[in-house]
């Protein structure tokens, strides 16, 4: 399958959405709204729930399923209030020692007037910084489009997985083609060049695993269970340190000079 075919599958409006994952894999969901700084953002959906009986905080991008929902959720493109809401409930999860599970599916953070006015850049940066030090397990699953800082803003996790047909990239292929070749029509070619499929990212060491979509809900359930089992062995500080090291050194091998590589062998 070509990269652009993956992109189109990842964007398919009939693909399972965060509400499906919450309905199927969690019980007792209690939605939390608002950033408590003056705004609510429907494009981030989350709250407290149970995963196999255990209280967790679950959140993710919400694109919506109907046109009305799409509009209400701004097609899954959060503003700063969305990132601040996400951070608020993640910090609360840390306080009550609940693992955090995030579902990533966004065309990107919203490039709008108000979003800029209220600090889109600062809100995303704050999430990246704060998530890196959370003292509870954090698991992220890219289920559809993981596009740009808007995706990463809720994906600084101990374990990052992608569904086999999900994509994760620095920008949309259209945007990439537009910036580098001044021609957004070359998106198919861009998708290929960008290396944005689950297999590509696993190859780069940016993600920890690929989830098969054959029996999707069961596969996601199994993956979260096994990740939690592994992470539960670590203390809060160890979880924060492991996450820090993961993001600090993920590209270490790519940045090692031949000299440094030789020294390690010796």
């Amino acid at each position: 399958m070509s990269a652009i075919e993956k992109v189109l599958i990842a964007r398919d409006k009939d693909r399972p959405k965060i509400t499906d994952y919450i309905d199927n894999l969690f019980t007792d969901f209690f939605e939390q709204k608002g950033d408590f700084l003056g705004k609510e953002d429907g494009s981030i959906y989350g709250g407290i729930a149970r995963f196999h009986g255990r209280p967790v905080t679950v959140l993710g991008h919400r694109k919506g399923k109907t046109v009305e929902e799409n509009m209400a959720c701004n097609f899954g493109m959060p503003g700063p209030e969305g990132y601040r809401k996400a951070l608020r409930i993640m910090k609360q999860a840390e306080k009550f020692n609940r693992p955090i599970i995030t579902f990533v599916d966004t065309p990107g953070a919203y490039p709008g007037l108000e979003a800029e006015m209220y600090g889109q850049a600062q809100a995303i940066a704050a999430n990246l910084a704060e998530m890196s030090a959370l003292k509870v397990p954090v698991i992220s699953i890219v289920t559809g489009e993981g596009s740009s800082g808007g995706a990463l803003g809720i994906a600084v996790a101990n374990k990052v997985y992608m569904l086999e047909n999900a994509i994760y990239s620095v920008l949309s292929p259209e945007g990439f083609a537009s910036i580098l070749w001044h021609d957004s029509a070359r998106r198919d070619e861009a998708a290929e060049v960008m290396k944005l499929t689950a297999k590509d990212l696993y190859g780069f060491g940016v993600i920890d695993g690929i989830i098969s979509e054959a029996d999707l809900m069961a596969a996601v359930d199994t993956k979260i269970k096994s990740a939690l089992k592994e992470l539960d062995k670590l203390s809060g500080q160890e979880l924060a340190d492991a996450r820090y090291d993961k993001f600090r050194y993920f590209d270490e091998a790519l940045l090692a000079t031949e000299n440094q590589k030789e020294m390690e062998v010796v």
């Binding site: 850049a121 940066a125 600084v156 960008m194 290396k195 820090y244 600090r248 940045l255």
Partner: protein, 262 residues
Amino acid sequence: MTSIVDRRKSKFNRYKDLRENPTELLEPAIKPVKEYDAFDRIEDITDEGTFEQFDFDFPETNPLDFDGYVEKKENLRDENGCHDAIITGTCEIDGWPTVIAVMNKKFMMASMGMELGETFCKALEYANENHLPFIIFTASGGARMQEGILSLMQMAKTSAVVKRFKDDGGLYITVLTHPTTGGVSASFATLGDITLAEPKALIGFAGPRVIEQTIGQKLPEGFQRAEFLQEHGFVDKIVRREDMKEQLAKLLRLHGNVYSRR
């Protein structure tokens, strides 16, 4: 590589020029980039003869095997006298030992790839280990597209290192210069303990053109400029270039040895 000292020798007194042409003082953000580069900045901010550049060793990186990327970097290195779009080192500012980082927008609009991200982190870690304050002058078009997902991940990497530095008691000052956008604005640029900006600098997550296309209308005058950001609560102080050193020195004095209070 041209050393700072060589470059300094080759230049005449720029401030004299500025005094003779005061409109430049008012709008430094929109001055053509060739007139004021990263090395000029270092020369202006640091005490004479105190800047020592870090020289980290990096292999050539081209993770996507992107056509022409390596050649482009090679040419820019010769032109700009730096290995990638960031220059870091130790210096003194009014006698205060400091680690300083300056982004060089003449190098691929100072977009952030692996080498830039790693250089930033190593410089900041040096500051942490040696209990020094850290000042960065940001300017960037955002993520380095040619490095794909690996450039995106630099946002998480640099933000994590900033968080650790600040939690360890370090003083982290950012000076946002024209333009600071995209992945750099949404990571280490907006995490300062103290955030300064130059007048009229464009600062934002999305570029103005993208926003106009999205909302289908013209943006208001001054949108995403430093003054606009300050009005909305994201900039401590707007500082003109000729006052920059004095203001930074004042901040360093006010914080003193911050680590002693840990």
